[in-house]
Amino acid sequence: MLSVQSVDYSYGPVKALREVSLTVGPGEIVSLLGANGAGKTTLLSVISGLLAPARGQVLLGGQVLSGRKTSLVVEAGLVQVPEGRQVFGPLSVEENLQLGAYCRRGRQHRQQVSRDFEQVYHLFPPLARRRRQPAGTLSGGEQQMVAMGRALMAAPKVLLLDEPSLGLAPLVTREIFDIIKKLPEQGCSVLLVEQNALGALSVAHRGYVLTNGSIRFSGSAAEILGDRQLREAFLGPERFEGSTGNKP
């Protein structure tokens, strides 16, 4: 479904991505793990069309997306929840969600969009109680829900999540991961970027490990978790100790 092929990207002289390839299939949750500065956010920016890759391409369902404007990438069904949530603070929760459905603003989508509003409120009950509240006044966990709900309102085929657990309490993280786990049932594949490897691998089917801009390993969640060397070398042991997730 989503296919990233040999993507290179540099910030001036700094090589941030080298020959990165990965795929996310229909109904899959794929995790992309890596330490600070590994290039995870850069890769998502390239996938979303915020950055143009120096080499390589991004395809969705066989259609080439790299080189297209972000708005067209979103219309094609590739939607990102950015690092640090980035909700529209002064706007209400409902307005944030409505903007999520911006790519479906045509009249023909109206009914489906209003059904999806209910679906999102059902998935994130705290948001339903805070529809009229400015999103910026919500707690971190609730803002993450707004950011995810907003992205889901675009009816994505593939959802890209950039460190959704960052800065959240363990219990809230668990809640967020539980919701991510349900997304494939609704026809939405997930590329989950995380530093919280245990948490991410508890919901992901497969994973990739990114270090210094290159994919160093890919395999099933169990394989990554089972490989002690991989854990220590690429993810850092500290990530596993204080972690919030449980093995599935």
């Binding site: 915020l50 979103v74 980035q86 529209f88 903007l99």
Partner: protein
């Protein structure tokens, strides 16, 4: 004339010029929120609005109902061109450079207007025949009422647009966080362009309604634009409500100050008050350092 009548007269005339400052200030805010650029060509949008009305209403004899929207459309188009041909194409994204481009564009616009319309002051017919009216002790022309009514209508339309339409919310989303807006599939360039069109349209409106009183000329909007900029700063730069409050406050201060002292000090009074307010409240009357609701 009794004291009350005089006061009423000053207030009405202050609200009239204040409306123009408010419209100009809103134009500054729109472009600032979308791009963080201070657009020094805003005053030329006002000039062109007046000049277009001179041509369409006076020379071509079109009815006001047709001339006004046409003038607004032409200047909105100029706003879009400024963005598409100058700002967007600039190799630099440095704000200082971009702001300087608007200064250069302003000089260019003035030169072109002078070529087309000449240097002299041009009489623009009022929107309806000039019969003096009495209102709360003040003597007004129908044009005064048109100015107030059209300004109120423009503000109402903006409030509706930004709070109740998806496109309006998308413009606000781009102002709040352009990257997140792009990730929602919003074409940020289109929203920026729309902001320039709106700023042009507001400038045109201001020029079209004030020039029957001031006459039109190639540079008539320059001082009004500067006052609009001052009004926007006074209200809290980038804040829509602040632009309206700032514009009306500045208009009233000028008018009352001119009445109390001498009209020779009109401009000085306005800018001294502006400096004083900024001294006490550096963010302006309503500035909070973040985007506010319309």
């Amino acid at each position: 004339m009794s004291g009350w009548e005089q006061l009423s007269q000053y207030v009405m005339s202050g609200l009239t010029t204040g409306s123009i400052y408010a419209l100009a200030a809103l134009g500054f805010c729109l472009i600032y929120n979308a791009t963080h650029i201070v657009n020094f060509a805003q005053g030329d949008f006002i000039s062109l609005g007046g000049l277009m009305m001179y041509t369409l209403l006076g020379a071509a004899g079109l009815p006001a109902l047709l001339a006004l929207p046409l003038a607004v459309a032409v200047v909105a188009g100029l706003g879009v061109m400024l963005e598409a041909l100058a700002i967007r194409r600039a190799k630099s994204r440095d704000l200082t450079v971009l702001i300087f481009i608007t200064v250069a564009a302003s000089a260019l616009f003035r030169g072109v207007f002078k070529e087309i319309w000449g240097k002299q002051a041009l009489a623009v017919p009022p929107l309806s025949p000039d019969v003096p009216l009495r209102f709360l002790g003040a003597t007004l022309t129908p044009q005064n009422l048109w100015i107030l009514a059209i300004t109120l209508a423009a503000i109402a339309v903006l409030i509706y647009f930004f709070n109740h339409t998806l496109t309006g919310r998308a413009v606000r989303a781009v102002a709040i966080n352009p990257k997140a807006a792009a990730l929602m599939g919003i074409d940020t360039r289109r929203m920026v362009r729309l902001s320039f069109a709106l700023a042009g349209g507001l400038g045109a409106l201001a020029g079209a309604i004030i020039t029957p009183i001031t006459t039109a000329s190639y540079h008539v909007g320059v001082m009004m634009g500067l006052k609009g900029f001052a009004a926007a700063v006074l209200g809290g730069y980038g804040n829509f409500l602040g632009a309206i409050v700032g514009g009306l406050t500045l208009g009233l201060l000028e008018s009352l100050g001119a009445g109390a002292l001498s009209s020779a000090y009109k401009d000085v009074i306005a800018f001294v008050v502006l400096l004083l307010v900024l001294f006490i409240r550096p963010r302006g009357l309503l500035g909070r350092g973040e985007e506010a609701r319309v």
